[in-house]
């Protein structure tokens, strides 16, 4: 059990709140840096995918988890980032520049998509963003001389200033650095006024406004940042897949990302990465246990989506804060051992919440 005796504001503001966190995150960092020596190329590739999806998760988390705006069109931002990267990389742009361009273009798209968000909420916003997703998908398929239409684009290896990421390891390190920087940026944002303004908008628009928060500006900012982060993930995604086609950026992917952050733990940075790990690891597990199941189940089509669906339902019913929520409980169990009580995380009833204005 740890008691933190605070003597300075800095202790609340800094990223690592105590030595234990420094130790464990340090260990995680070392493990991630050492991964190429431990894992073979296939598993390293999967780890890279977790990082990329984790970045997508962060982007969507910022929008849906922290600002409370739902998006069913995030695959489109990923596509904008991926295609920008593919086209600019082919023109010989070094990676940092093309990555910035991918992020900026995605952000610009995000601002456009964010415009309806200033007027509509909830299910209507979901439909608006979904429509946007369809539009982008269609543009990618039709704008053939730029996007290659349905045949897609073959993406070369990631290169910058004469250096080429020509192996699984080198690409993994690039993804790791990008993921770490994006995470740091998001964490910084969340401990600043803008991050708190997002949370304020999520929890009560009316009082956010009475606290002087410009709703339209912050919602647009949230959309732009979320799209930029997703665009960054898209740039990496393009190099990872090596060939990108419109059908990799459909509504199904968008739904998958939303599911990812819900399963991972909505409203937490950890949740983005937990969700990404879940999204990558589950198909592997399904593939592994498939052969041991009775053929009627194991070989049935749609086994994987069914399991995904069941997990999602289970999460919503039993653990609204997803894997991260469960993680907190397990951690607390060990920290307090043997004093953990079952009721510690019991959900409290929300007090009197009557109708809001508008």
């Amino acid at each position: 059990m740890r008691f933190i005796f605070k003597t300075a504001y800095e202790q609340d503001i800094r990223l690592f709140k105590h030595g234990g966190q420094q130790f464990w995150y340090g260990l995680l960092g070392v493990a991630l840096l050492a991964a190429p020596w431990v894992l073979d190329d296939y598993f390293l590739g999967q780890l890279t995918f977790i990082l990329i999806y984790g970045i997508v998760g962060l982007g969507l988390m910022l929008l849906s988890g922290y600002t409370g705006l739902i998006s069913l069109g995030h695959a489109a931002f990923l596509a904008v980032g991926a295609y920008t990267q593919a086209i600019l990389a082919a023109k010989g742009w070094p990676f940092p520049f093309s990555l910035t361009a991918a992020a900026l273009l995605a952000a610009a798209t995000g601002i456009v998509v964010g415009l309806p968000a200033l007027r509509v909420k909830g299910i209507y916003l979901a439909i608006a963003t979904m429509a946007f997703g369809f539009i982008v998908e269609e543009v990618l398929a039709r704008w053939e001389h730029v996007t290659g239409g349905n045949t897609g684009i073959i993406v070369g290896q990631l290169q910058m200033f004469g250096w080429t990421a020509d192996s699984e390891e080198s690409f993994y390190y690039v993804a790791l650095v990008v993921a770490a920087l994006v995470t740091l940026g998001v964490l910084n944002l969340l401990r600043s006024p803008t991050g708190r303004a997002f949370v304020a908008i999520r929890d009560s628009e009316i009082s956010a406004r009475s606290m002087g928060i410009h709703l339209a500006r912050y919602k647009t900012t949230s959309f732009a940042l979320s799209a930029a982060i997703t665009g960054i993930a898209g740039a990496l995604y393009a190099h990872k897949l090596r060939i990108i086609t419109p059908e990799q950026f459909t509504i199904l992917q968008s739904i998958e990302y939303l599911m990812m952050i819900v399963v991972g733990g909505i409203g937490s940075v950890h949740g983005a990465f937990f969700g990404a790990a879940f999204l990558i690891v589950l198909p592997q597990i399904v593939a592994m246990v498939k052969d041991y199941l009775p053929p009627a189940i194991g070989q049935a089509t749609g086994l994987q989506p069914t399991i995904f669906g069941l997990v999602l339902v289970a999460v919503i019913l039993f653990e609204p804060y997803g894997i991260y929520g469960r993680w907190l409980k397990i951690r607390t169990f060990f920290q307090l051992f043997p004093l953990y009580r079952r009721g510690l995380f019991r959900r409290q009833k929300a007090f009197m919440k009557s109708e809001r204005l508008r």
């Binding site: 503001i13 910084n188 009475s210 009197m352």
Partner: protein, 257 residues
């Protein structure tokens, strides 16, 4: 008599055909506690919402000589007007401290880039915000709840947290919408002391809507009574309470049956 801080002239608010407020005028002078009373549906909260610019109204509202017309709702806070809500509108899934820090939003000077990189300017601002917020936490005795999620707090504490959040903006005019509703006798007592301190120690002018006549007469400098959207009496608490129109509005007419 000093110049009014808030001047409301011929304010009318209509929702469809229903006139919630019709032709109400009053002035709030600097340093006083001005209370709006009246039975349910008298239009008290609607007046608050009109001042916060969240409902469209006709008439003129000016604050420190400046017409509020043409401003956006979020700009009202920047002028130094803070408010609480009748039904508590806190940021549920954030800690008490974060709620109060959101109250500092009007004092934000950093930009997005500085925040993403958490440059020294952003860090310095966080320290300044914390210092200001801790003063409010001290003032309202919230230290015990500082790091708790609002979603798990009892009603009485939430009421105080909302007051604290409003104070964190460092307002010059504070709008309190039924500060004592849902509080027990002891908590109402505390609230009365705090309103007194807010007026005298912090020098903040208070405009309040309140039902508890005990609290009203303890803290108010002047009272305005409304009924069905119209002004029926204005004056000191004692004057208003004994005004025949007020008695009639609350108790009905003394007609023999």
């Amino acid at each position: 008599m000093s110049a009014p801080m808030l001047k409301v002239e011929h304010l009318s608010v209509a929702f469809g055909g229903v006139k919630a407020v019709s032709d109400v005028s009053f002035e709030v002078r600097p340093g006083e506690v001005f209370t709006l009373i009246g039975p349910n549906g008298a239009g008290k909260t609607t007046i608050f919402n009109a001042i916060s610019l969240i409902v469209p109204a006709t008439g003129r509202i000016s604050y420190e000589g400046r017409d509020l017309a043409g401003l956006a709702p979020h700009q009202v806070a920047k002028l130094g007007i803070a408010r609480t809500f009748q039904n508590i509108e806190l940021f549920e899934h954030a800690t008490v401290l974060q709620n109060l820090l959101i109250g500092r939003h009007v004092h934000r000077r950093t930009n997005l880039a500085a925040e993403l990189l958490f440059l020294p300017s952003a860090r310095r601002e966080e320290h300044e915000f914390r210092e200001a917020v801790e003063k409010v936490i001290d003032f309202l005795d919230l230290a015990h709840y500082r790091d708790q999620m609002v979603a798990g707090l009892p009603y009485g504490v939430r009421k105080v947290v909302e007051l604290a959040r409003a104070l964190s903006t460092e307002p010059r005019l504070l709008l309190l919408d039924e500060p004592s509703s849902g509080l027990n006798v002891e908590e109402t007592d505390d609230m009365a002391f705090w309103i007194h301190d807010i007026q005298n120690d912090l020098g903040i002018t208070v405009l309040m809507v309140e039902h508890d006549m005990g609290l009203v007469s303890r803290v108010s400098t002047r009272v305005l009574a409304l009924n069905q959207g119209e002004t029926i009496a204005e004056g000191t608490p004692a004057e208003v309470q004994s005004h025949p129109a007020v008695v009639e509005a609350y108790l009905g007419t003394a007609e023999a049956t």
